[in-house]
């Protein structure tokens, strides 16, 4: 029986390893084609390591740890390192590709030499349900060509037009099912798009819309195309066949007669992103605002939720008080709701025009004769709202931990102070509070660190807004560093500034490291950990 189970587990193990190795073998050539050196090294290191560990018995404990470790290394440690690398590159919209990829894209571009524009014929423009354009070129009865109209970038990847005699029954054009025939007016309305499209007939020949006719069929024209750019390896430059000029490399782009050719490629730029953060006035200003607010936001959130939580646990810390359990259950509720739901709900409540908060405050506004507060729309109101909501989200946790800590403080201490004539307030500030802080402060620092990166709340409640006017990058008054990074990289409306965003992330890393170091030092947790091992 034992033998059987051993062989079974062996079969299981070797099957898994075989699958794993098959994946590695599959991935390596792909990584080579895409020139992802990072992946190649990652895949190889992991592959070799796994095989050594599971085929030999020398690293027995690693057999247990390795699966988890691979995920942690690949998706936590490696991204952190990769992030550092990205922060030293110009990786951003227009510079996404590697140089080889960019050259590949550019060499696929075509142009039509002037002397090759010729033959004219009838042309019909169709549109399918997905609003893609299709052309029908009626060259002659043997060549009634039908196919999707594509832009220049897709010319090499699309299939050639096919002969469809069925489109002309009895010499009349009939629209095929599932397509819509564009009238002349509609063609004019779409003319900017249509100008860019062509029907690919063969490798070098295309049909393009030439003249739009409002009555009857429009006219198409055959064009032959040639490659626009050819990469010249000797000079490391691009040769433009249309203008017969050489376009040299200027940093991360080819430049033809002083004009940058898109796309460029990503290159190592050293500390350029960092110097941009600190020297470019239109980035440094907002970054300073964001960094300062990040600290204020995290600190105020902790202070307010701690104050409320402590107040409530002090109030309930009284023998003989009725309804204690009900109060406790209710105070925990905000903590039980997922933060993304709470943030959204509060956004509704705070809505300046329809929200409950303003309808509550309406009598107050009238009494004081002031304008209703435009919650989340002005700097001050947005900042107060964010703190208010975070207090709501955070106080239950503070309530829970302070309740626990209060109960662990020996009652005799307070009693003794009372005997010595201390007032309630004195014994609170001199005895209860200091003792409380000993056990609570590491948790407060943890909470500070959490709120320092509380992306969900900021992004869903205020979206970081209202926007700071006059900044080069998209940023708002309630943005914290992590949401600022998000806007730079993903959603800022100024393209994807991955390199710049990564450099901000490095700053966050450094700050988190400092916060953690303080926490470790302050609580000597490290020693406890050591003792624990």
């Amino acid at each position: 029986m034992i033998y059987l189970s051993m062989t079974l587990s062996k079969i299981f193990r070797y099957t898994l390893l075989a699958i794993f190795n098959a994946l590695i073998v599959y991935a390596v050539p792909l990584a080579l084609t895409f020139e992802s050196w990072f992946f190649l090294s990652l895949i190889l290191v992991i592959g070799i390591f796994v095989n050594i560990v599971y085929f030999t018995d020398r690293f027995h404990p690693m057999k247990w740890i390795l699966p988890g470790m691979i995920f942690m290394l690949s998706f936590v440690v490696f991204p952190a390192a990769y992030n550092t690398y990205v922060s030293f590159t110009n990786w951003s919209t227009g510079h996404i590709l590697t140089k080889t990829q960019a050259i590949g894209v550019l060499e696929d571009r075509v142009f039509t030499p002037d002397n090759q524009k010729g033959l004219e014929f009838e042309m019909y423009i169709l549109q399918d349900l997905d609003l893609n354009f299709y052309y029908v070129a009626n060259l002659d009865s043997e060549n009634i060509l039908f196919g999707k109209a594509v832009s220049d970038d897709e010319i090499f990847s699309t299939s050639y037009a096919i002969h469809e005699p069925s489109l002309f029954m009895n010499g009349e054009f009939s629209t095929p099912d599932g397509y819509y025939l564009l009238s002349g007016k509609e063609q004019i309305a779409n003319s900017t798009t249509l100008q860019e499209l062509s029907l690919v007939i063969d490798k070098n020949t295309r049909a393009q819309l030439y003249k739009i006719s409002v009555f009857g069929a429009s006219t198409g024209r055959l064009t032959s195309t040639s490659q626009l750019y050819k990469y010249d390896e000797m000079n490391d430059a691009l040769f433009n066949n249309a203008t017969n000029t050489l376009c040299p490399v200027v940093k991360d782009n080819f430049e033809c007669e002083g004009k940058e050719i898109e796309p460029g490629w990503r290159v190592y730029v050293g500390g350029e992103n960092y110097s941009k953060l600190f020297s470019s006035q239109r980035i440094r200003g907002p970054l300073g605002v964001v960094a300062k607010w990040t600290f204020q936001f995290a600190l105020l959130s902790v202070i307010f939720s701690f104050a409320v939580g402590l107040l409530l646990s002090m109030i309930l810390n009284k023998d003989g008080l009725k309804f204690q359990r009900i109060y406790r259950a209710v105070f925990i509720l905000p903590y039980a709701i997922p933060a993304f739901v709470s943030a959204l709900v509060w956004k509704g409540l705070l809505n300046p025009d329809y929200g409950v908060i303003n309808s509550w405050l309406a009598p107050l506004y009238e009494m004081l004769d002031i304008e209703p507060v435009k919650w989340l729309k002005t700097k001050e109101s947005a900042r107060s709202a964010v703190i208010l909501v975070n207090t709501w989200l955070g106080f239950p946790y503070m309530f829970l931990i302070t309740t626990g800590a209060l109960q662990s403080i020996p009652k005799e201490l307070i009693e003794a102070a009372k005997v010595d004539g201390a007032t309630g307030i004195q014994s609170f500030w001199r005895i209860t509070f200091p003792l409380l802080m000993v056990s609570i402060s590491p948790l407060l620092i943890g909470s500070f660190a959490f709120n320092f990166n509380n992306f969900t709340l900021i992004f869903l409640l205020s979206g970081g807004g209202p926007p700071i006017i006059g900044s080069e990058v998209s940023v708002g008054w309630t943005d914290i560093l992590i949401s600022f990074t998000y806007k730079l990289a993903i959603s800022g409306g100024r393209g994807n500034l991955f390199g710049l965003a990564s450099s901000v992330t490095i700053i966050i890393f450094a700050l988190v490291l400092i916060i953690s170091a303080i926490s470790f030092r302050y609580t000597k947790r490290l020693e406890r950990i050591y003792g624990n091992i």
Binding site: F75, G320, K322, P396, I401, F509, V512, I533
Partner: protein, 288 residues
């Protein structure tokens, strides 16, 4: 006599009730408001009240019938991703924890310390790198690239496995070593000790860690938001934000209904496991 007794009560207890009630209102009002609005007959935000005039399920029906808002698809996606990721997370974490707790090897202290240090940095901090990483993985292995659930699950797996194995290891340390030593004398292998003794005895902590990880992944917004572009693959957190934001006033009833559906299971789980989750053991790991 009666009045002085009352004043005594106020001095001792009454003011406590007053403040407690105030904050109880603060805590519970938004939740109640949304819960009642989700079944209120008139729920655009302007007309909304805490106590609705008439009850209806129309918002829930609307939620399930709008083809542009595949809410229940999102819900399904969320549960799928969170359950799978949490399961493997706990499974792999347990394996690692066993080695850290029971096997002697070089570099054990150092690896444990590394775990603690790595876990100081939430994994979403490097989201730019994760995005670019999976952007490139899409070329090589599209099935696990950007925009796929598999890719997202992989990221979630890496995110908390270190912290989890640390916690599980702490619990395993409290299981008496005499148990596995006796088994070893009887000729049991490591795997048998793990399967027959340590893993079953660790079940309480494994359940708690599973729940915590599940809640954490369920509530994640940032990684899911950068990862999932296709509307049909979104999780609830991403979907709820992008769609309902359009018209807060008119859609309020539906927003309330969707919030109730998204929040209730998590709230119930949380309250059920509240003691263990906040028992100091995991303080601050779910939310702060």
């Amino acid at each position: 006599m009666e009045t002085s007794k009352f004043f005594n009560w106020v001095k001792e207890y009454g003011w406590r009730h007053l403040i407690a009630l105030m904050f109880a209102t603060f805590a519970v009002y938004p939740i109640l408001f949304v819960a009642t609005n989700s079944i209120a007959d008139f729920a655009n935000l302007t007309n909304s009240k805490l106590i609705p005039d008439g009850l209806t399920l129309k918002h829930y029906k609307l939620l399930s019938s709008d083809p542009l808002v595949p809410y229940f698809k999102w819900l399904y996606n969320t549960y799928k991703v969170a359950l799978i990721a949490a399961f493997f997370n706990v499974f792999l974490g347990t394996l690692a924890a066993y080695a850290f707790s029971r096997l002697q090897f070089k570099g054990r202290r150092a690896s444990l310390l590394t775990l603690v240090i790595v876990q100081m940095f939430p994994s979403f901090l490097a989201f730019v790198a994760i995005y670019l990483l999976f952007f490139q993985i899409s070329d090589i292995a599209p099935f696990m690239g950007l925009g796929t659930h598999i890719g997202l699950i992989l990221v979630y797996l890496g995110g908390s496995i270190g912290f989890n194995s640390w916690l599980i290891k702490g619990f395993m340390d409290t299981i008496s070593p005499s148990l596995d030593e006796a088994a070893k004398v009887d000729g049991a292998t490591d795997f048998q000790i793990f399967r027959k003794i340590i893993a079953p005895l660790s079940r309480p902590i494994l359940v708690v860690i599973f729940v915590i990880t599940f809640i954490g992944i369920y509530s994640d917004f940032i990684l899911a938001a950068i990862f999932l572009k296709d509307k049909n693959l979104w999780t609830v957190a991403v979907g709820i934000n992008t769609v309902f934001i359009d018209d807060f006033n008119a859609d309020w009833g539906v927003i309330a209904a969707s919030s109730v559906i998204a929040a209730t299971p998590i709230a119930v789980l949380f309250i059920f496991f509240q003691k263990q989750i906040t028992g100091g053991l995991t303080a601050g790991s779910v939310k702060g």
